[in-house]
């Protein structure tokens, strides 16, 4: 309850950041863009005790995460929804040889990534975290196939400046479309096309994406218990949301942000599908630290200097990983409580802190 009150006070003090949430008292878990890492409006409200300032730009946010009693996604399944990508006006350009509903290849890249991330060392970072069921710790698994399915929804019309509630409603439609019954282990990425994006992203609030968990008081009329991600067309934000942050070639790095940002949200949802919600005194949150930073937040944009230096040269910095399809995908690292001899650090990118 304290947490709910704290959330409400914090949100009221700051005002609603865009129209991301359905109510003024609720904020989803933002991934700030690289220029807004220290923007207080985008920081999660601290869980307790002494408020912690934002992390130094380009560096990890220290101290280990704790378990807050909610569920995790033990056997995750990720469902991709490309909402309105085939709708008229979704893109302002075409590219020869590319589908009209995906002229930059972003949808294909995201799909390939979700199919390829299972079983990687990067996804394996989350296997140290667990949920407690009847006194037993049940650990997150890292199966080779976490791909649930893809839906190009051109039936339900989208529009620009879509709200968080509308994204939640689309997530609910996706639950029905895919026939999902195991919501605990399922998450839905609602990806938007170039010209129809979520209002807060468009409005310059300063985030690249966010994830959340549907509850009646936050998303009225939407089925409770759906973990979903607001995934805007991050190429619209350029380098702030990761374009060419790992791969410097104009085309090679153009889509870097899509897997960096979506990977951040997917892994946060796996370890904290309840998105830090506290409902009627019950904490639905999984793993985060006492500053309320999740495993992705703590390692966001590590090593990124907008091209001045290569982020992969910094331990835990942005880097390419090899997917289970043998292809390279740029991602950020993930917080590992087990790294640095238990002190914790960002890991999984192939440029971890030296051990031994």
């Amino acid at each position: 309850m304290k947490r709910l009150i704290a959330l409400a006070i914090f949100a009221l003090a700051l005002g609603s950041a865009g129209s991301a949430g359905a109510t003024a008292a609720h904020k989803p878990i933002y991934m700030p863009n690289a220029k807004n890492m220290q923007n207080p409006a985008l920081q999660p409200p601290p869980v307790c005790c002494v408020p912690v300032g934002p992390p130094v730009a380009g560096e990890p946010a220290p101290v280990n995460m704790a378990y807050f009693g909610g569920h995790v996604q033990v056997t995750p399944k990720i469902y991709l929804v490309f909402w309105g990508w085939g709708q008229a006006g979704a893109f302002d350009h075409t590219t020869p040889g590319m589908p009209a509903n995906d002229p930059d290849g972003a949808a294909q890249r995201m799909t390939n990534f979700v199919k390829a991330m299972g079983g990687t060392d990067w996804a394996g970072v989350s296997t140290q975290y667990y949920e407690t069921d009847n006194g037993q710790n049940v650990y997150i698994q890292n199966p080779s196939n976490v791909y649930g399915g893809v839906w190009y929804d051109d039936t339900n019309p989208i529009h620009d400046n879509v709200s968080g509630l509308e994204l939640a409603q689309e997530a609910q439609r996706a639950v029905a479309h895919f026939g999902v019954t195991d919501l605990h282990n399922s998450q839905f990425v609602i990806a938007q096309p170039q010209k129809f994006n979520e209002a807060g992203f468009n409005g310059g609030v300063g985030y690249c994406a966010w994830h959340d968990y549907t509850q009646p008081q936050y998303y009225p009329g939407v089925q409770a218990g759906i973990s979903f991600t607001n995934m805007p067309y991050v190429l619209n934000m350029g380098a702030s949301c990761g374009q060419n942050s790992v791969n410097t070639g104009y085309y090679t790095g153009r889509l870097d942000g899509f897997t960096i940002v979506m990977g951040h949200e997917i892994e946060e949802t796996i370890t904290d599908p309840g998105a830090e919600d506290v409902i009627n005194g019950q904490n639905l949150g999984g793993w985060y630290d006492y500053a309320a930073y999740e495993n992705g937040d703590k390692c966001a944009w590590v090593g990124y200097t907008f091209g001045l230096t290569n982020p992969s040269t910094v331990p835990g910095g942005l880097n390419n990983i090899t997917g289970n399809d043998g292809k390279q995908y740029p991602v950020q690292s993930l917080w590992s409580n087990n790294s640095a001899a238990g002190a914790g650090y960002c890991a999984g990118n192939g440029n971890d802190l030296p051990t031994g």
């Binding site: 590219t95 020869p96 040889g97 590319m98 290849g105 294909q108 890249r109 791969n247 070639g249 104009y250 085309y251 090679t252 790095g253 153009r254 091209g307 001045l308």
Partner: protein, 302 residues
């Protein structure tokens, strides 16, 4: 009154239908076309005597003549929000010509001014491009107004990248140096790139030319536009990737069967289908271009 309205309406509907058909025809127009000559429409095939059915026809493709496609380095603005450096096959006067810094300081002999500042010029037209890796990419980067530079060498690094089926692939790079003096105002720097042979014959969706100027004597210069800087990219007039495929009873070609092409003819043998009436479809592709489908109907008997 109602009849009059209908009479007026019908020609209007017909006109709309005709206009739609013309637009659709234009959209579907293709440089490649295909016909089926065997089996002839309405013919009969006997399953017992012919476990395989010969399918053949004719095809035409646009000539894949080797050529070079010239792209001009263009800019729309002078360092503003609409700067938009890009490559275009269309030449003209650039609003961004004659401005825009390359680098802004001088360190003198032994130093190397390099702020990591490069400029990308992605293509905005001229695509798809059927790439010919057997010839070199050439071009000229025109450097102007290197005021206060003194005398010394200036380095020009150029690299070219292709967008190949959604992936960025390096075409190649070159580094050239040019001696600059206080007296000259214009330095055309020629470059040559040996292309990546792995891209031979690929149909490219885009190219990007990255230009990076640096050196100990660089000062407030810029890359000349309005036709002064350009690159010639070896290409073919049409794609060299040509194919014919057939499909039995499925106009969507969900399980296409490739045919062998010999000149302007093509052929393939397919297992004779079950007894009954069947429709055979054929289509040709050249690069990203697909012909209108041809079809023939035949009957299989025991």
């Amino acid at each position: 009154m109602r009849r009059t309205s209908s009479a007026l309406l019908l020609p209007l509907v017909a006109a709309v239908v005709l206009a739609t058909a013309l637009v659709a025809g234009a959209a579907a127009s293709s440089a490649t076309s295909v016909q089926i000559t065997t089996p002839k429409s309405g013919s009969t095939v006997h399953l017992g005597a012919n476990p395989y059915t010969a399918v053949a026809g004719t095809v035409s493709f646009a000539a894949a003549t080797p050529q070079a496609t010239r792209f001009y380095l263009r800019r729309d603005d002078c360092g503003g929000s609409n700067d938009n450096p890009h490559l275009s096959v269309v030449n003209g006067t650039d609003a961004g010509d004659g401005c825009g810094l390359v680098l802004t300081s001088v360190v003198g002999l032994g130093g190397d001014v390099d702020h990591g500042a490069f400029v990308d010029f992605p293509s905005t037209d001229g695509m798809p491009l059927a790439f010919d890796s057997g010839q070199n990419v050439t071009g000229t980067i025109d450097l102007e107004s290197l005021a206060g530079a003194g005398t010394g060498l200036l380095e020009v690094d150029v690299s070219m990248e292709a967008l190949d089926h959604g992936n960025g692939v390096t075409i190649g790079s070159d580094s050239e140096s040019v001696l600059i003096t206080p007296l000259a105002a214009d330095y055309p720097v020629a470059f040559t790139i040996q292309p990546n042979p792995a891209l031979a014959g690929h149909d490219l969706s885009g190219i990007d030319l990255r230009v990076h100027v640096h050196g100990p004597f660089v000062f407030s210069g810029f890359i000349g536009n309005s036709g002064k800087s350009w690159t010639d990219v070896p290409s073919y007039a049409a794609s060299v990737n040509q194919a014919v495929q057939v499909s039995l009873d499925d106009a969507s070609f969900s399980s296409p069967i490739p045919a062998r092409i010999s000149g302007s003819s093509w052929s393939v043998a397919i297992p004779t289908p079950a007894v009954g009436k069947h429709t055979l479809y054929a289509e040709s592709t050249q690069g990203f271009d697909t012909s209108a489908p041809a079809s023939t109907t035949f009957t299989v008997k025991k």
